[in-house]
Symmetry: C2
Amino acid sequence: MNDLDATDLEILKLLQQNASLTNKEISYKLHKSIATVHERIRRLKDQGYIKRVVAILDSKKINRNLIAFSHVLLNDHTANTLNGFEAEVAKFPEVMECFQMTGTFDFILRIATSDMEAYHHFYRNKLATLPNITTVQSFFVLSETKSDTAYPL
Amino acid sequence: MNDLDATDLEILKLLQQNASLTNKEISYKLHKSIATVHERIRRLKDQGYIKRVVAILDSKKINRNLIAFSHVLLNDHTANTLNGFEAEVAKFPEVMECFQMTGTFDFILRIATSDMEAYHHFYRNKLATLPNITTVQSFFVLSETKSDTAYPL
DNA sequence: AAAAAATCCGTAAATTTTATGGTTAATTGT
DNA sequence: ACAATTAACCATAAAATTTACGGATTTTTT
């Protein structure tokens, strides 16, 4: 699992923060040649360390101001119920993330909508129509103190 | 706020999923010229719609297997206490996200560590040493059903 | 309807990515 | 210890992409 050396880790740290860096810029920071950096990054992608490269948007500028975390409890925990819920909820574009959890509820959803009205519509007309839901408890983001996609390395 | 036309939205949708697409590839999908696509993307970055471009890593491959969501309640809600907590918690690399929330607790943290032992160490030696914390309740991710950084557009 | 602004595109220059071959350093087997 | 093999690194050149520029077309404004 860990055949990453210090150079690989530095590259991953940099690309987690800014994947628009050129190989030239990285090579300068790491005191390696462009060719070496290029080969390292190719390997990190091939071996699956880098899953993908994405653009992160400003949620306020695109009018997705309301972020909710919802805790979902299901009626039962048969494979059918769990799989059915996961499959259906993943189809909703408002649901950015879905995690099955330990503890007193079953799933955490991260839901992005434009405002409370849109959230309400999503909740009543989409989420609450799914079968086997016992309760949904939602918490809303007031402000974003830290928002990082980078894992500590 | 919304001076985005259909072409801009299509570009943002594509780049949210895969920012490694070349202008050429995008121009083909959108039936526009390379120059047009390039100019659009430059504007979307300049105007702040695209905050940044990042590499998303495979958390399992880099041994950050344990993701926790922690609900934090503080002793009081004076500006000093809130600002102090936010400033300190943001310094921990284990804390990938921190949101101030509505409802019965104050903050949600997303915490990434290698395993339960590392989480425990973070909790006892870092998080719990911060002043003004009343309670921390943590929930752990069993499995990741959907994990998307893309906002619906 | 004319003027102004915005959108779009082709082309060329600058830069970056990618491929190649060879050198040096590290690892392995005996 | 030492030859053989492998891995890491790098310079260079070719291919591809990004970026800058000028002009044409369309849309909007007055």
